[in-house]
């Protein structure tokens, strides 16, 4: 069986990637954000898994607008970094793990998840920025192969939060039934509160975001019970991306240990959040 060793929830704001690509991380507007990441990055550098599963959404770059999958999974050997209209980010392409992809596909379809399979896929900032949050200096290659799981969050109706959490739970079972003994990291991406269009553009809800950062560890059921309208009202029309953290959380154990969390406003038009969890239960004190 494979074993999930950690889960990382993180925003995927494009300007976080741009700040890193342009060497601006020490500038005053950016330094607090990257300082907040540091403890998580250090822990992650010591806990490289054999493979990672990254739950993300495409932003009209990898998939044609006439096709909107609710849930997708990549089965490729390699995922090319997308050109979103301003050149590719200067980061490595992503190596995949087709054997594990096919195993997850079979298990998840057997459990009634109606995945769309991508034999080829270009990945955009929704995918590469979380990888950069994890590994700021990948050199020629990311630390391990990564499997994309895609969630529709940009077109209404998105999957419900409950469905995302259920997908995560099934993902956890599917990983556990993989015949090889490998370690796995799971990334849930997107959020925190933000809204890009309309008169409510610039909306930030730190109260909600802090509640979310706490509940994702201790009470994911509460987050899974919220409707998509709840998310849009409380976290903004793009804050609904947070439902992707529930897929990550669902794949982890009931009790998990927080390694580090961070919260910062603003990263561009967005509140940026990070939460890193060790999949082991907390060690009882004394």
């Amino acid at each position: 069986m494979s074993e999930v060793i950690w889960g990382l929830g993180t925003s995927h704001v494009p300007s976080i990637g741009a700040a890193m690509d342009r060497g601006m991380t020490a500038e005053p507007v950016w330094a607090p954000l990257f300082e907040g990441y540091r403890p998580a990055r250090e822990w992650l550098a010591d806990h490289t898994p054999d493979v990672a599963v990254l739950i993300y959404n495409d932003h009209a770059n990898g998939v044609d607008l006439d096709i909107v999958p609710t849930f997708g999974i990549g089965t490729a050997d390699r995922y090319t970094v997308a050109d979103e209209g301003f050149g590719k980010r200067p980061v490595p392409d992503v190596l995949g793990h087709p054997e594990l992809s096919f195993h997850l596909l079979q298990q998840l379809v057997d459990e009634g998840f109606d995945l769309t399979v991508f034999g080829e896929l270009d990945v955009d900032h929704g995918f590469t920025v979380p990888l950069s949050v994890w590994t700021p200096d990948p050199g020629d290659a990311w630390p391990c192969p990564v499997i994309p799981i895609m969630v529709n969050v940009i077109r209404y109706p998105q999957p419900t939060a409950a469905r995302c959490y259920a997908l995560g739970q099934a993902l956890g079972r599917a990983l556990a039934s993989f015949p090889e003994d490998i370690t796995v990291g799971v990334l849930g991406t997107g959020g925190m509160s933000h809204q890009l269009a309309g008169t409510r553009a610039g909306f930030i809800n730190p109260t909600f975001d802090h509640m979310f950062l706490d509940a994702i560890q201790h009470d994911p059921q509460k987050l899974a019970a919220m409707t998509r309208e709840d998310y849009i009202r409380e976290a903004g029309s793009e804050g609904i991306e947070l439902i992707m953290w529930l897929v990550m959380r669902g794949a982890m154990n009931a009790e998990i240990t927080k390694v580090h969390s961070a919260y910062h406003v603003p990263a561009s038009n967005t509140a940026a959040g990070l939460a890193l969890f060790d999949n082991r239960a907390p060690v009882a004190a004394g």
Binding site: L65, D66, Y156, P157, A197, T199, G202, E229
Partner: protein, 119 residues
Amino acid sequence: MTSPSSPTAAETYLFDGPSSRRGRAMNKLFMSLRDEQARATFLADETAYCARFALSPEQTRAVLDRDWQAMLDLGGSIFYIYKLALMDGLSMQYLGGVFTGMTEADFKAAMLAGGRTDV
């Protein structure tokens, strides 16, 4: 016609099925701008490019005039509209200013002060 639980309002602009249908031609045009050659073709004759993508007269006007608010109203998705803004060298903060009636500088200042927590 869609379920009553589908919220749509000027403060939010959910990109739902009906808006994607309304904005399809325009969003297809925006998506094409990921390609450098396409951007050059567009800039050489914007009207012809809009005609090639079969934009409605209102959509064509919105694109030519860079009427970002009208693009939203005519079914544009912010993620697609943003590709046109990118080409023009404009930021998401600039667009945020347009949608909220602020200058880009004021919008940026509002974000740096912790975002618009009161809307």
